[in-house]
Symmetry: C2
Subunit: 303 residues, 2 copies
């Protein structure tokens, strides 16, 4: 299987502290990098964790609270100063353009590369597609317009059985069709069913990013069966009131979503600055959904 | 003498690196803090160096290149989240207001405190004054409109000689006038000259911040005789061409300004990301102006 993983650059909530930074993640699909959110200091976190930034062509911004995008203008500026000419695709609510434009204008900067915008508040469904993956966005339930993202590997090809290839020596064209699910017709005119000559494809992996949001069951159809679910867990059970008031989730909320969505694994983050000890979050989530992990900055999680 | 010093939070130029951050300084006058520039990550540097931020009421932004202000919106947001209600004064080119407003609007944030703007491109001369100091701004020579700042202690009072006070027991009103320079008339009607009964005041200290700018002698009248001069020194002598092209200074340029302005001491900063070894900057500056120091992040310099 090709590499498919996510590096957490920042997993704190609104206010940075000595132990956590605002939200940012770097998704890697076989060397192609996707930046998800870009809080202040994201480029410093990239330096700290030595991730590089050359292979980032696509930047997804969940919503326009500062802890999810204040580092974007600085990151774009750095790409410009490094001489980048390849376009950058930004997927974000439409006000992002004015925010970037006014800052470039104040500095009299004309970027050496083009920014291609996809305004997430103007369209629905799939916002990115290449040969291997799709990215779909879906509404979260927060104080301002906010979107989650799900990165899905496309359905992979079925695998030809060696014994079949050796016996029948099919042409390249035939092999291609069989991998897509076609049956094989032998020189004698016999039909051999596809499932006799192939093995099922590797399962398609998927990653969902859900931050910031209150507990919101409407997201479940979008993230159903996801391999790895990152769901915000700003608060613990004792802070349910403030979570509700601020349209954030508790760790148990995140776990209930993971359970109902039949996720394989749950990754928690967006921790409140007040929580120095995160072990209650893990405990409370595991009581609902045992396959839960606390995200740590600088760590990479396989999908 | 009351404390008057400056802590360097960031002394790098445009691109942050593992060893330097964008420009920011925290000036302290007897506990009152003045923030000068606010590059991305300034609030993280405040946390790292444990400076606090409660006593900052005045923020001075030299110009609107991102490495001098991209951290401002995040810092203001943090003050808001910490519940600040006291107004914040921002002294900056006028486009700053639109930049801040558009980002607050996108987040649907109404700050709990008022921002009082002084637009440095709309007025000349003194932009701040309290009982102890004044701040004057003056044009630098950069690619976009940029200003230096000079913080000056006001002329202090003359000091009464103990022998005079013991002999004549002057009233509080008389002492006040004498400290301002008045002569004393004794009960017998004799005039005693001020300089016989007082010592000269402590010298008034001053701090000038000059970044970003090319070598520019027009600033000298504004910074004449300054106690401590911070002058950008982005490049070394071997990079004179790029310094000229980009409207930056070499360390030797900074030293020539310090010499002609008769500064007491020169502090260098705004180092190019390419210069990992800064000792050539110090050497080249000291050949012109021996009282030169390389600024280091996290260090506090007495004025």
């Amino acid at each position: 299987m090709v590499p498919f993983n996510v590096t957490v650059l920042g997993n704190g909530s609104a206010v940075p502290t000595s132990f956590q930074n605002p939200t940012s993640q770097l998704l890697n699909y076989n060397g192609k990098r996707f930046l998800i959110d870009c809080g202040e200091g994201t480029q410093m976190q990239m330096i700290k964790y030595n991730t590089g930034h050359k292979h980032i062509d696509n930047i997804f911004i969940s919503h326009l609270h500062g802890d999810h995008y204040f580092g974007l203008i600085g990151f774009l500026n750095t790409l410009h100063l490094f001489g980048r000419t390849k376009p950058v695709n930004i997927y974000a609510p439409s006000q992002i353009k004015e925010i970037i434009d006014v800052q470039l204008s104040a500095a009299n900067t004309k970027l050496k590369f083009e920014i291609k915008y996809t305004f997430t508040d103007k369209i629905e469904g799939v916002i990115y597609e290449d040969n291997n993956i799709t990215v779909e966005h879906f509404p979260l339930n927060h104080r301002i317009t906010a979107y989650g993202f799900v990165f899905r590997e496309k359905q992979k090809e079925r695998k030809l059985k060696k014994s079949f290839v050796e016996k029948y020596s099919p042409s390249i064209e035939q092999m291609h069709k069989i991998k897509q699910g076609a049956d094989f017709i032998s020189a004698e005119g016999n039909v051999i069913k596809n499932d006799e000559i192939t093995d099922p494809p590797e399962p398609s992996r998927s990653y969902a990013f859900c931050s910031d949001t209150a507990y919101y069951e409407e997201i479940i159809p979008y993230i159903k069966g996801v391999t790895l679910l990152y769901h915000e867990a700003t608060f613990d059970n004792s802070q349910q009131d403030i979570a509700t008031e601020k349209y954030h989730s508790t760790a148990a909320d995140a776990a209930r979503i993971a359970l109902k969505a039949e996720a394989k694994k749950l990754l928690l983050g967006h921790y409140s600055a007040r929580l120095k000890d995160r072990s209650p979050l893990l405990k409370e989530a595991c009581e609902v959904f045992p396959e839960t992990v606390l995200s740590e900055e600088g760590k990479t999680y396989e999908i």
